[in-house]
């Protein structure tokens, strides 16, 4: 699933590891989500949305 995670992370000048700490996951998990290899669960998607103060739809795009 396509997402804007990399852009949102870059806007805050966070590394993958720093974002991983905010989400309490591994850096590999962040990398897998960013590259579309892993679709996050609903709880993790909500966590991301809250962290960036956006809705889930504004971060993830299931149309592609």
């Amino acid at each position: 699933m396509k997402n804007r995670l990399k852009v949102l992370r870059a806007e805050r000048d966070w590394s993958q590891a720093e974002l991983a700490v905010h989400l309490d996951v591994s850096r590999q998990a962040v990398n897998a989500i960013e590259t579309g290899k892993h679709d996050p669960s609903l709880p993790l998607a909500f966590k991301l949305a809250r962290l960036f103060d956006l809705s889930i739809e504004e971060i993830f795009d299931d149309q592609n």
Binding site: A17, D24, V25, S26, Q28, A29, N31
Partner: protein
């Protein structure tokens, strides 16, 4: 569609093959001891294989990110899962080392990699420690790891199960037809474990 990193897949597959090769050398050395080859030769082969296994294990652990540069921040869940894996590795090392010492030293001190008789007390003690430590660490790890890590481990477990389901009856049939030697459960165990670890490592990603 997931993009496949062929170089990474190749490295992990190579690690798995080398692991099995080293394990095979250990067993072959044991058979060599039984068939009367010199103790020195057997011991050298066992030591070489043991060093190979340790090096490959280290590379694998490094690929999993358990050890290495710690400059980057690590989340609590990742740290907890690493601690559990480290605990499991230490217990595994203690069992392996103790098991090796519990055997007949004329066999090259590698009771772990043979089917030779061992003392009942050693079997009970190491068996109990293995069961308790593996169940405890598996439960703890699954609770500590994040969802991506768990998904990667589950993929590895599925692949390992598939390897077991295919390999066991195939070997059994082959042995009944005298095409291959009788089945050795520890070789099956090693192959299943290698497939599990390779798929887990690959799915986990960089």
């Amino acid at each position: 569609m997931t993009k496949i990193d062929h170089t990474r897949a190749l490295k992990i597959a190579l690690c798995a093959i080398l692991y099995l090769l080293a394990f095979g050398i250990m067993i072959a050395s044991q058979n060599g001891a039984l068939e009367g080859y010199g103790d020195g030769t057997v011991l050298a082969a066992v030591l070489t294989a043991a060093v190979t296994i340790v090096v490959i294990t280290f590379l694998w652990i490094k690929a999993l990110g358990i050890v290495g540069p710690q400059e980057e921040p690590v989340s609590q869940s990742t740290q907890k899962s690493r601690n559990v894996l480290l605990f499991a590795a230490i217990i595994g090392g203690v069992i392996g080392f103790g098991f090796a010492l519990s055997g007949d030293l004329r066999d090259g001190g590698a009771a772990l990699f043979s089917n030779n008789p061992i003392a009942p007390i050693a079997a009970i003690a190491f068996g109990a420690l293995f069961v308790l430590a593996s169940i405890w660490s598996s439960i703890r790890w699954h609770r500590a790891a994040d969802e991506h890590e768990r998904a990667a481990a589950n993929s590895g477990a599925y692949a390992g199960m598939l390897a077991y389901v295919v390999l066991t009856p195939l070997w059994w049939l082959g042995a009944r037809a005298s095409l291959v030697p009788p089945q050795d459960p520890m070789i099956v165990f090693a192959i299943v474990l290698a497939v599990y670890a390779a798929v887990w490592t690959y799915q986990r990603g960089d």
